[in-house]
Homo-oligomer: 369 residues x 2
Amino acid sequence: MTTTGRQLVSTMNADNTMTLELVEREFPEPKGNQVLVRMEAAPINPSDLFLMTTGADLENADYSAGKVVMPVAPQVAKGQSARHGKPQKVGNEGAGEVIAAGDGEMAQALMGQRVACVPGHSFGDYALADATMCLPLGDHSSREGAASFVNPMTALAFVETARAEGHDAIIHAAAASNLGQMLNRICQEDDMGLVNIVRRPEQADLLREQGAGHVVLSSAGNYEKQLADAIRATGAYLGFDPVGGGTTTDTCLRAMERVAASRMEEFNRYGSDQQKKMYIYGRLELAPTVLTPSYGFAWTVSGFLLTPFLAKAGPETLMRMRKRVLDGLTTTFASEFKTRVDLDEMLTKDAMMDYARMATGEKYLVTPA
Amino acid sequence: MTTTGRQLVSTMNADNTMTLELVEREFPEPKGNQVLVRMEAAPINPSDLFLMTTGADLENADYSAGKVVMPVAPQVAKGQSARHGKPQKVGNEGAGEVIAAGDGEMAQALMGQRVACVPGHSFGDYALADATMCLPLGDHSSREGAASFVNPMTALAFVETARAEGHDAIIHAAAASNLGQMLNRICQEDDMGLVNIVRRPEQADLLREQGAGHVVLSSAGNYEKQLADAIRATGAYLGFDPVGGGTTTDTCLRAMERVAASRMEEFNRYGSDQQKKMYIYGRLELAPTVLTPSYGFAWTVSGFLLTPFLAKAGPETLMRMRKRVLDGLTTTFASEFKTRVDLDEMLTKDAMMDYARMATGEKYLVTPA
C-alpha cells in the first residue's frame, strides 16, 4: 500500500537553469525499521538552500504555481553536472506523526507517535524515515521538534570534536546563526571556551545578551587584534567556519599564530610549534578558500560534515547527544522561526528572496498541511 | 676551552634588505651528549634557502668578500619581522669529524668518528651537535653522508605517514627533486604506489628511467585527466606538496574527487565520502594556497614538518629509519651534487644565482675547508 503526496524537488538543467517544483509522488510502504511520517513542520536550513537557491538569480526567476525556474551561474551549473536532469528531493529534517511502520521492533514502537526525523526529503506531505534516527517528541509539538537534528547535533559535534582533540576552547565564525546561538549556550553549560566572530554590532549584542564572553566584530578596524586577544584569553586553537570561501579561516589561523609566536623566545623559520586547526563546515561563500603562508607548518584545515562524524562516534555517543537535545528542546536547543509557510508559499518570490538571505534570526518553518 | 671558526648567518633588516655573511664565532666546549664536529661537507637544501635567498633580489645585491646585502621584497621582510636585526645561523645538516665530546656516554662513543649531524648551523667551520641525532658514517665519506638526514628522513616519513593513515599509494608534487627521486626509490622498495607530478618532459624521463610507474606532466594540456587516471590506477588519496602556494594541492584534491565521484551512484551535494588529504611540506611558491569548493567536505590540507613527525614517531622508529638510511647511503639515499663550493665561494654572485634556482639535479655541496 503506497501513499501519495507532494514532494519538493530541485533539478539542475544543462541550459544553466535550476527548477524547483512540487511533484506528486508515491511514498512506498515502510519496511523493516522504516516509518512513514506525515510531515507537520520542517525548517529551511542553510544546508537545504544549497540545492534550492545557491548560484541562482531569484530576482529574474520565473515563478509559477508550484514551480520556479531560476537562471543559475554557469560555473555553479557546471560544478553540479552530476545532477543535471536528475530531480533531487529536498529538506533534511522535520517532524510529524508516524502513520505507518515497518515490522521492525523500533519502527513498530514509534507507531502513532510524533517524532523528529532526518529523511533527506522533508519538504513534502510525507517522509519515509529511518526509525533509528527518529526522536520521539513526547508532549513536544512538531514545531518544537522540527529543527532538533541538524543544528543541535552539529553544535554538539563541535564540542565533542574539540574535547576528543584535546581542546578546551574553540572559535566559531558567523556565530550569530541559529547554530551559533546553540553553540554559545552549550559552551557555557559545558565550560568550553568560545570565541564568537560576528559581522554586525547587533549580532554581538545578541550573543552577549545570551551570555557570550568573547565576541569579536569582523567589521571592526582592529578585528585581527581583537581576535588575537580573545585567542590569548581562551587558548582557542581550533575553529569552525561555515563561510568557507575567502579569508575567514586564514584570518583565524593567522591570529592563532600571532598569539603563539608572541610566546616564542627565538624566531623559527617554520613558525610556532602550536598546532592550529580550522574545520570548514559550510560554504556561505562560494569563492575559493585562501590560505596565506603566514603560520608556518603546524596547521590543518579540514572539511567537516555531521554524518561521518556520527558514524565514527558510534551509537552510544549518538544516543547520548540525542537525549541531551530532547532534554533541552525548549531551552538550549530551541529554534526561533521568523514565519511559517506551506509548500506552495515556500515557492513564492517574496518567500524565496527572504529566506535565501539566511539573515540572523529569520529562519523559515515549512508546515505542509 | 672554546674553538673559533667561521659561521654563516642571515640577518633580516628593517630597511628591506637581508644580509648574508660569514662571522667569526666561538663554538663552546660540548657538554653532556653534545659533540663538536669539524664540518667537512654540507648540502644546500631548499629548506636552507628560505633564510638565505627567499624574496631577495640576487641580481642587484651587493657582493663583497664574505658578505652579501640583498634587497628583499617588503612583504617578505615584514612577514619575518620577528627576526629583524637578529642574525640567524644557517645550514640544517652536514657531516664531519667529531673533535670534542661532552662527558655523556653517546657523545664519548663518537669521539674521533666521522658523523652526519643536524646542528641547524652546518654552514661553518664547526658545529655543535646532539649526539643522539648523529649518524656514525663508518667508512663512508663526509660527502656521502652530508645529506643523510633532511631528504632521506623526510621521504621515509612520507611513507611512514601514509602507512599510519591507512594508505598504500601517494601523490608527490615537484617529484623530480633530490627528495622526490629518493621517494621514488623507497616506494618501489616498499611496494607503495606513487604518482609523480613533474613539470618538464626531461624530469618525467629521469623518473621513468629510475623505475617510476606513474609520472604526470603538469604542463600537459590533459594534465588533470592524466592525474585522475593515475589516481584511479593507484588509489592515491594522500599527497605531499612542496610547492604550497597556488593550485597544486587544489588540483590534486579535485582529481581525487573526480575519481571518487565517478564511482558514486547518486549525486551528493556534500561530495564523495572518500577522504582526501594533502600535506604541504614546503613553500616553493610563496603565493597563497587556493582551495576551490570542488570536492565536498571529506578533505584535509595540513602542513607537514619532519621534526614534529619524528618527535611523535618516537626513538625506535627514528632508529629504524636512520639505520635504513645508513644501509642505503650510496644507493637508495644517494644524493648527486652539481658542484662543491667553500664558504667564501658560496657567497659569490655566480654561485648564489645558480643554487637559488633549485634546479633539478643541481644541488650544491658546501665544503668549508
